[in-house]
């Protein structure tokens, strides 16, 4: 054995520092910051490697996180698609323009060609008062009763089909401008069912949020529990590190990173699950749309939503770990 001050050690590195006294070998601030960043990097890589090289212990946690994320993710994707579809319906909402009783058919034809030339109008069709009555007579079976009427009670109608791509506010503006025509009695937009659809979509969105919140809570619990187990498995290590001067932050760090990685891996797995689900469903949806003469394609999860999913998962993992660490770590003292 050689003395602590043996010459052997002096050969190791140039200027020798004094042997004793914390004050004489204090680490400089810059070194401390570097060391701190290095520590983070080291811990981040180490904990990630531990998860990836020994996945068996934590694979359940990943899957639970992934599934918890996939459910709201899939619902979100569905809603996204439905609201996309409903936008198309909005644009195709036709309107019925009722003419004043005094308007003659020739005047109506003039108005018709005038409307046809307006922006955003795809198609117009005139149903004269007589035609309307004839149609009504045929469909209602009230033939003779109708003959008793002194004159035709039905007004002439112009059915206007706006262009498919026309946004809803433009459709409404079109209806308003038609309403201001002197020969027009009233304009009816066929939107009641659309309103209902929108209300339904809003409700579903709310349900997705509530479900998402519950599943997020589930993720917190699962990560928290997994971290609790890994704290229990490393009690000796924690005691020793605290004994040789580890701060609470230092002890916490690997567990927080582990939580973060749990979230990340879970988020990535849920991306994969969502992609598989999309691939499975999008073919049939396109076939179905084709049957209706539409070229509708199922939209995948948007990039923004996917990012929110991943970052949210990482945040949840980190929070779950934090929660567990706060509850269990302070009890472990040397």
């Amino acid at each position: 054995m050689s003395a602590p001050d043996s010459p052997k050690r002096q050969t190791a590195n140039a200027p020798r520092k004094p042997q004793v006294g914390a004050s004489t070998h204090k680490v400089s601030l810059k070194d401390q910051l570097n060391g701190w960043a290095q520590q983070h990097q080291l811990v981040a890589v180490e904990t990630l490697m531990r998860l990836l090289t020994k996945p068996l212990g934590s694979i359940m946690t990943w899957l639970v996180i992934a599934i918890s994320l996939t459910l709201p993710g899939a619902m979100w994707m569905t809603l996204d698609n439905l609201s996309q579809l409903s936008n198309r319906f909005q644009a195709s909402g036709s309107m019925s323009v009722y003419l004043k009783p005094a308007v003659q058919d020739t005047q109506a034809q003039q108005l018709l060609s005038c409307i046809e030339s307006m922006d955003g109008v795809a198609d117009v069709r005139f149903i004269s008062a007589d035609d309307a009555l004839a149609e009504f007579r045929a469909s209602s079976g009230l033939g003779e009763a109708l003959d008793l009427l002194p004159e035709n009670p039905l007004p002439g109608v112009i059915v206007v089909e706006p262009e498919l791509a026309l946004p809803q506010q433009d459709v409404i503006a079109l209806a308003d401008s038609l309403r201001s025509e002197p020969r027009v009695d009233s304009v009816e937009l066929d939107t009641a069912w659309l309103d209902r659809l929108h209300a339904l979509l809003a409700l579903s969105e709310r349900i997705v949020w509530v479900m998402g919140a519950l599943l997020a809570l589930g993720i917190l619990l699962v990560v928290g529990n997994t971290i609790r187990l890994s704290i229990a498995a490393r009690v000796d290590e924690i005691r020793v590190t605290k004994l040789v001067g580890a701060t609470n932050a230092w002890v916490r760090r690997p567990f927080l990173y582990t939580g973060l990685w749990f979230g990340m891996v879970g988020g990535l797995v849920s991306w994969i699950l969502l992609a598989i689900g999309w691939a499975l469903v999008s073919g049939p949806v396109e076939d179905l749309a084709a049957l209706y003469g539409s070229e509708y394609r199922l939209l995948p999860l948007s990039a923004g939503a996917a990012l929110v999913l991943l970052l949210g998962a990482m945040l949840l993992g980190w929070l779950g770990a934090w929660w567990s660490v706060v509850r269990h770590l302070h009890r472990i003292e040397p």
Partner: protein
């Protein structure tokens, strides 16, 4: 300013009798002292008070001028970084190499890897274990493990070195060698306090003795002989 000062320190564990009663003493900087006493006399307790592993029920404990028992918990890690400890159950981690065990205090203190590596080698060299870096401590003998524990205690160049039964379970020859090792640290200015049962060894080495007897302290003040285990000397 002494390195260590105990000021009327009493410690009773919850539900237990008094483990230490009105203990007062000082250790000057660079001093070397033994702490002896029968089993259950309170030796480990006294050492633990200096690291805030336990807190006194009465009195005050100062280390390097700072009052340990009222110290904020955020400052305790800094205290522990300037005190090296060796425990009887050397508290090594068997899931990592000797190198990683010894380097732990340096990583915690934020040393650069190159500087840490240099210091770990120096510490292992000083306990005669150069070349053992990659071994797992579980493969080592009791004495070698003990020395790894000492290397870890000194790697951060502590100002104060505490050892609790560092030679328990070691043969006399190795015990003496380890004591000499502690002496060498004292020679470079470290304050050393060693709790031990090994009376014959202490007798041979001389030095100041703090003797605990059922929680009360008797200070030999210097090299006094004649205290055997169970000798209850009262002033």
């Amino acid at each position: 300013m002494p390195m260590v000062r105990f000021d009327g320190v009493s410690k009773s564990y919850p539900g237990g009798k008094e483990a230490l009663s009105k203990v007062s003493f000082e250790l000057a900087r660079g001093e070397f002292a033994f702490l002896t006493g029968h089993s259950g006399a309170g030796k480990s307790t006294l050492l633990k008070l200096m690291l805030q592993m336990e807190r006194p029920s009465k009195g005050q404990v100062f280390v390097d001028g700072d009052c340990v028992n009222t110290m904020k918990s955020s400052l305790v890690p800094l205290l522990r970084r300037k005190v090296g400890v060796v425990f009887q159950n050397h508290q090594l981690l068997f899931d990592r190499s000797v190198y990683d065990n010894v380097a732990m205090p340096l990583l915690i203190a934020g040393y650069q890897p190159a500087e840490a590596a240099r210091r770990v080698r120096a510490a292992l060299d000083s306990v005669g274990l150069l070349g053992f870096e990659r071994r797992n401590p579980i493969e080592l003998s009791g004495g070698e493990q003990q020395r790894v524990g000492i290397a870890r205690a000194v790697v951060n160049k502590p100002q104060l070195l505490l050892a609790d039964e560092p030679t328990g379970n070691l043969d006399p020859e190795l015990s003496e060698e380890i004591m000499k090792l502690f002496l060498r640290f004292q020679q470079v200015g470290v304050t050393v306090l060693i709790a031990t049962h090994d009376i014959p060894l202490i007798e041979r080495m001389g030095h100041r003795r703090l003797i605990l007897d059922h929680g009360s302290l008797h200070d030999s003040g210097g090299q006094r002989a004649g205290f055997e285990r169970g000798d209850h000397v009262r002033t």
